[in-house]
């Protein structure tokens, strides 16, 4: 029996260029790149140096503070370059893929008979632990802690997000295997959320507590769902896994192979044929975007969604946790009297000569222009309109900015991740970097409180 959750506060940002539900095999990349920066807070220790031949699923590096935590290669081939930055920090590990892929065989895992410890050990060794994240702090889960529950959001409400119902189709067996295994790691429940009117493969899984969610974005954010279902208190931990990563975990458990394949949506207003591609983690984005076609010379390529993803160059790579690529126009142009003339082509929560409230179903072609300059916090009350958590967003951000740990703790810092502040950042008239403020706050807490 599923439980219904309805989110009232939020904002659906409807953008042009939604991906059509057709999947094409992306042209195989020559080079796959893993960026350690995707694993926030991890200090990588290299296993595979340049020249090492690896199979798909063999470790490239491990986590310095938890040595059993491996990060593995998405493909088989040769490590051709380890890009380093200041103080020899590892920025990227590049693997040139073999034409014929070979996989490291981790053996079929007996989920039913396995203990929690053996599951943990197996996931850490095979690189699948990297898919398990935790709150507080929004980092890869600490395997030494036991979570009070595990959350899987099977509903993507972010603008132009890949449709989970579509990309997970036919993956029921893998999803069930992963859920059964993860379920053994918590004393609580595995909460799975699907859209209220969706037709998700996740809805049919066993051993889960199913929730149906409705309402505007950020209803699909796992943070919103945690807050409504089982909020994080001080001293508690919850884990989160995204459904596309469950598929990889499930396949590994069932077949012993780390198959980094996922279905990626390529969308956005400058894409000629927005659709889905079968690709692997770390793949060159050019393999997809040039097939989909681009209508502009001046565009922003984003791995991930437009609210939380990272900007990459056209020769960039698919982020470790991403299953979508968005291309929108760069907005690096001036606009005559842009601050006072009536606006019909942008989205606003106010009605200050802005008219998006008249056309709630219109799809907009938004650019990367900030629509204003950075200012101190001035306007109040507008963040709360799009922020469904029972937290005072501005007060929490101010506590982060002045690094007041007690205040941050009291105001709900354990419950939030940067992505929960993506919408407040979008509507902010002062153009403050909300997600960055929260990320820095979380990092400070990790450092000071641990």
């Amino acid at each position: 029996m599923s439980k219904d959750i309805r989110i009232k506060k939020g904002l659906d940002i409807k953008l042009q260029g939604e991906a059509e539900q057709i999947t094409t095999n992306a042209v195989a990349s020559n080079v796959y790149t893993i960026l350690p920066i995707d694993f926030h807070g991890i200090i990588p220790k290299l296993v595979a140096k340049a020249g090492t031949i690896v199979k798909a699923g063999e470790p490239l590096f491990y986590n310095k503070s938890v040595e059993s935590m491996n990060f593995v290669s998405p493909v088989s081939g040769e490590v051709i370059e380890v890009v380093r930055g200041e103080k020899r920090k590892i920025l990227a590990v590049k693997v040139k893929a073999d034409k014929e892929q070979s996989f490291q065989d981790n053996g079929r895992f007996n989920i039913e008979a396995a203990s929690a410890d053996s599951i943990k050990e197996h996931l850490l060794k095979t690189g699948c632990w990297s898919f398990v994240k935790q709150r507080p702090y929004d980092i890869i889960a600490n395997p030494e802690k036991s979570p009070k529950s595990i959350f899987v959001s099977g509903y993507a409400s972010a603008p132009l997000a890949a449709n989970y119902d579509y990309v997970l189709k036919g993956k029921e067996v893998e999803l069930q295997a992963a859920i059964t295994a993860l379920g053994k790691l918590t004393e609580g429940q595995v909460h799975v959320t699907v859209g209220k009117s969706s037709n998700s493969p996740l809805a049919g899984l066993n051993d889960v507590s199913l929730h149906k969610i409705s309402g505007p974005h950020p209803s699909g954010n796992v943070g919103t769902q945690i807050a409504k279902i089982d909020p994080v208190n001080k001293g508690e931990t919850v884990w989160t896994v995204s459904p596309q990563d469950l598929v990889i975990i499930g396949e590994l458990l069932l077949t012993g192979r780390f198959n980094a394949e996922r279905i990626v949506s390529v969308s956005g207003s400058v894409v000629k044929n927005p659709k889905y591609y079968k690709a692997k983690i770390g793949a060159e984005l050019s393999t997809m975007i040039y097939d989909a076609g681009v209508d502009s010379e001046n565009f922003r390529l984003i791995s991930g969604n437009v609210l939380t993803g990272s900007a990459v160059k056209p020769d960039g790579f698919l982020g470790y946790y991403h299953n979508e690529v968005v291309l929108i126009p760069e907005g690096d142009d001036y606009e005559l009297f842009g601050w006072n003339k009536p606006i019909f082509n942008k989205i606003s929560t106010s009605r200050a000569l802005t008219f998006s409230w008249l056309t709630p179903n219109k799809k907009y072609d938004l650019t990367t222009n900030t629509n204003g300059e950075h200012r101190a916090f001035v306007v109040t009350g507008n963040y709360e309109e799009v922020f469904p958590l029972d937290i005072y967003p501005m007060q929490l951000m101010k506590a982060c900015m002045v690094q007041d740990l007690d205040e941050m703790e009291a105001l709900g810092m354990y419950e939030v991740a940067p992505e929960d502040f993506a919408l407040t950042e979008f509507v902010c008239p002062s153009k403050q970097p909300h997600q960055e403020i929260i990320r820095k706050g979380l990092d400070l807490m990790i450092k000071e409180i641990g």
Binding site: T354, T367, N369, V379, E425, K431
Partner: protein, 408 residues
């Protein structure tokens, strides 16, 4: 080369220099900047602070225009040039060119001085501290001429603006950091530094002060009082104006505060555009009504004698308090300043209510300066962070309770 490119080249040229913020202020006035996002959210909403402030200015423009006509109208009534009085908002003797000319002549210099001096101070600090010229003064600069008496000497206004911007805002770090409402601080400075120009019965109508001097010197001119309704009530006089006159705003008072009708229109626009807080406006209204009812009750119960100096103001019908004096203007345009008001939604209810409540309290019990809304707002500005603190603590306690319930 197009203007856009020329300005861009100049921006690049001045980048990093002391003049950069000043140049950017002019540049961004003409063109929304070409800044793009870098990380986090790649798209941004349409609103910025300039648009927000511009919306408030638009809501103030009707009050400004009405204030200009009213300046001329009050002057011409006082000098006896207007003798016929018709009914209705669009009465012919009010909307005349003659009235407007007086208004333009007296009010425009106030607007110009307010903006030129205020923005000069802002630009000086922006250049000195290397931050951008922020938009807060766009609204303050429009509010200031609307809340002063018509004949206030321009140099006094200039001094007050400098005081208000420097000590009310810049010392705290600029727009968004101030504790008190800068426009009200400017008015409070004038009020306490030059009381003869800010209160009493001779400053609200253009020319009244000069004529008093002439009368004193023995000239045979019809004396006019030119006092505000509140001033009159405080002295135990009758209202002297019809309710509709007071509602429409055909009464003496600060330049832009007299027309409750236009203030309500402005309020409707601010609430509709979601720029002004309806919570503060509504709760201020409720607070004033409650206090007014309490005073009316005291009078009804005959707990106060007719001889008391508070009797006339106390016995004024509670709803009349809403349309006389600066209450409506204060509640709609001043109390809702997001920086100095309470920032939490619950806090806004408490903050607004207390402003309304205390406004009428001061109005009745301080007959020397019967305009209470300014002091009430400044007082509550100081308490706004405390109100927010307790509201936020309520949220914190809820979180702690959740944890305790879990532990048990």
């Amino acid at each position: 080369m197009a203007l856009k490119d020329k300005l861009h080249d100049l921006k690049v040229k001045y980048s990093g220099t002391k003049m950069s913020p000043v140049f950017n202020a002019f540049h961004t006035f003409l063109y929304a900047p070409n800044e793009v996002t870098h990380s986090g959210g790649h798209i941004k909403g349409a609103d910025d602070l300039k648009r927000t402030m511009n919306t408030v200015i638009m809501a103030l423009v009707p009050c400004l225009i009405f204030g200009m006509f009213n300046a001329g109208y009050q002057h011409h009534v006082a000098t006896g040039e207007i003798t016929t009085f018709t009914e209705g908002f669009f009465r012919t003797e009010f909307w005349t060119w003659d009235n407007l000319v007086v208004g333009l002549w007296k009010v425009l210099p106030l607007v110009i001085v307010s903006y030129v001096v205020g923005l000069a101070v802002e630009m000086f600090f922006a250049a000195k501290n290397g931050h951008e010229v922020e938009e807060g003064y766009l609204v303050t600069g429009m509010l200031v001429p609307l809340i002063v008496p018509i004949d206030i000497p321009l140099w006094m206004l200039a001094v007050a603006v400098i005081f208000g911007v420097v000590l009310g805002k810049e010392v705290f770090g600029g727009t968004g950091m101030n504790i008190l409402n800068p426009a009200l601080l400017i008015r409070a400075f004038l009020f306490f530094a030059y009381p003869t120009w800010m209160s009493g019965d001779k400053v609200w109508v253009h020319g009244a002060v000069e004529r008093t001097k002439e009368i004193a010197a023995g000239a045979n001119v019809d004396a006019i009082s030119g006092e505000t309704i509140l001033g009159g009530l405080a002295q135990g006089k009758d209202l002297g104006y019809s309710v509709m006159d007071m509602f429409y705003g055909f009464i003496p008072g600060s330049v832009g505060e007299t027309s409750t009708l236009l203030i309500l229109l402005g309020a409707a626009f601010l609430i509709f555009s979601k720029i002004g807080s309806w919570r503060i406006m509504l709760s201020a209204l409720l607070g004033a009504i409650v206090m007014g009812l309490i005073f009316n009750f005291v009078v009804d119960q005959e707990w106060i004698s007719q001889g008391s100096k508070f009797y006339t103001l106390m016995s004024t019908e509670f709803w009349q308090h809403l349309i006389i004096g600066g209450f409506a203007f204060g509640a709609v345009y001043m109390a809702t300043d997001p920086v100095s008001a309470s920032q939490t939604n619950k806090g806004k209810w408490i903050y607004g209510f207390l402003i309304g409540f205390i406004s009428i309290l001061i109005r009745v019990f301080n007959p020397a300066y019967p305009e209470g809304v300014m002091l009430a707002i400044l007082l509550m500005n100081v308490f706004a962070p405390t109100i927010d603190h307790y509201v936020v603590q309520g949220n914190v306690k809820k979180r702690m309770k959740r944890l305790k319930a879990k532990t048990v």
